[in-house]
């Protein structure tokens, strides 16, 4: 049953998500062509023709907009999809399936998370493609590759206080927790909003504002209590890791994880004990 749920969830969201990705791929191709054209003109000719300049400027503008749209539209779409399939008319079908409410929710959350991760991967690939165009492929030269390997091997640890692999793992974990936190914040707001009779969307907004305020108040208190001690010990800060794993940052991260878990629990309680499709 779990496999079937994932199959339909991906199938139902794929159309829009792939369309969003398609726009980015198109914009990346344009900007790569535009940047490589400008790079070539810059080397071969003194003056870059206005047409090339215009094309490059337009492609960069479209690229920046599509990058912005990639994350915002994906995120907004996944949240709307959650609302539509859980609490609007389609929710009648979703919640009469012979599946545990927890399983239903987990499938929606994991599917949304996978799309967010794919979005980030696509973003990274897009930036890489842009760099290839801008460097006219020199990014692949043995000189650049050698220098990169040198930085990762010898210069990374003294600056960052950790190996490149550890840093990458930290970034990936942080990204996944952030995605979960952002998704759960909206999912929990929507789940609380459905408790309201007649004004469910307004209720969801109100719940979202309250959740956000609670999160900000907790974060401010944590910074006030722990932040000062970290800054007072600034002489001890030598590498990036000293900042990253300072008491203030560790407490912030722990609270962030606990807050995400709390949002998840709220969602599950709403699904299992307070479902209200009136």
């Amino acid at each position: 049953m779990l496999g079937k749920l994932f199959k339909y969830e991906f199938k139902n969201t794929a159309k829009v998500m792939l369309a969003i990705y398609g726009v980015l791929v198109f914009a990346t191709l344009l900007v790569s062509i535009g940047s490589s054209m400008e790079a070539m003109q810059g080397v071969n000719l003194t003056d870059v023709p206005p047409v090339v300049e215009l094309f490059f400027a337009a492609s960069v503008l479209m690229y920046v907009l599509s990058i912005f749209a990639l994350f915002t539209v994906s995120y907004v779409y996944l949240c709307i999809h959650f609302y539509k399939t859980m609490y609007s008319d389609q929710g009648y079908l979703t919640h009469t399936l012979p599946v545990k409410p927890v399983t239903l929710f987990n499938v929606k959350l994991v599917t949304s998370l996978v799309w967010m991760i794919l979005t980030a991967v696509l973003f990274a690939l897009s930036i890489f493609a842009f760099l290839i165009g801008a460097s006219r492929g020199e990014i692949f030269s043995s000189e650049v590759a050698g220098r990169m390997a040198e930085i990762i091997k010898y210069e990374f640890v003294p600056i960052f206080g950790m190996t490149f692999g550890q840093f990458l793992l930290f970034i990936i974990l942080s990204f996944i927790i952030s995605c979960l936190s952002y998704l759960l914040m909206i999912f929990a707001s929507i789940s609380i909003g459905q408790l309201f009779t007649g004004h469910k969307i307004a209720g969801s907004f109100a719940a979202g504002v309250v959740i956000y305020m609670v999160q900000q108040v907790i974060a401010t208190i944590v910074i006030l209590v722990t932040g000062f001690s970290t800054f007072l010990d600034y002489e001890k800060i030598v590498t990036f890791a000293d900042v990253l794993f300072s008491p203030a940052m560790i407490i912030s991260m722990v609270i962030s994880v606990l807050f995400t878990v709390a949002l998840y629990v709220i969602c599950i309680v709403m699904q299992t004990r307070h479902l209200n499709l009136d």
Binding site: M1, N12, G91, Y92, T96, L97, P98, H274, L275, L277
Partner: protein, 232 residues
């Protein structure tokens, strides 16, 4: 005949408003029951609680002596009073979805009914009229071999000519040991197929009776009795 569905002291409140007020009733298997009442009487609220779409404020609900949950959803086939399918899907895709999730779904039965109604399975739901969408939903619901069919206003959105066909679909596609709970305002259209009626008003059960009893002992049709009981 055994008790299929049982609700004990069931209550649902929305803030200060009580939609269902301490209802207790039992539904036996093998019956067609009309859940009848004026607008806002609590019919749909009761139906949603039986389907697990609303959490009761208090009281209990059992199907086959098990609380409402995953198991009960395997045995209840529910038709809501509005469209609940993804309108971008084709009819064939929805049939595949039902086949994947409901073990008791009879795919062939669904395609046979679609053919009789001249509905193309390749059509998207959004391209269909309101009445055709309702027919598709009814076909999906009645293609399950469920123990309890719950139909909320199954004939409200279709023309009078199609009503007879729909009632025929309902009658010819349910298992003899199964029960059907039908909620409707159009009592005259369905009273010939009913075995029992439950009159509900202001969230309370006003009357439960067999249709034979109403006709023989009171000498009235269900429609006439309804008009008498709920006269404004």
């Amino acid at each position: 005949m055994s008790t299929l569905l049982e609700c004990k002291d069931l209550t649902k409140k929305y803030g200060h408003k009580t939609a269902i007020d301490h209802i207790s009733l039992a539904i036996e298997s093998g019956h067609i029951i009309g859940l009848l009442g004026p607008n806002g009487s609590g019919k749909t609220t009761l139906i949603k609680m039986i389907n697990g779409l609303l959490t009761p404020t208090s009281g209990t609900l059992y199907l086959h002596e098990q609380p409402i949950g995953v198991e009960s959803k395997k045995h209840i086939s529910y038709l809501p009073d509005h469209t609940y399918l993804n309108m971008n899907q084709r009819v064939s895709e929805v049939i595949a979805f039902f086949k994947d999730f409901y073990e008791d779904f009879d795919e062939q039965r669904a395609y046979d009914m679609l053919e009789k109604l001249h509905i193309d399975p390749r059509d998207r739901l959004k391209s269909m009229s309101k009445g055709t969408k309702e027919k598709v939903q009814l076909i999906l619901v009645m293609s399950r071999r469920a123990d309890l069919y719950i139909l909320d206003e199954p004939i409200a959105g279709v023309d009078p000519a199609a009503r007879d066909y729909i009632l025929n679909v309902i009658l010819s596609n349910y298992e003899p040991e199964a029960s059907i709970l039908i909620s409707t305002h159009l009592i005259a259209d369905i009273e010939n197929i009913l075995d029992e009626v439950i009159f509900i008003q202001n969230g309370q059960v006003r009357l439960t009776s067999s249709v034979d009893d109403i006709r023989q002992n009171q000498g009235k049709s269900v429609d006439a009795l309804f008009r008498e009981v709920f006269r404004c």
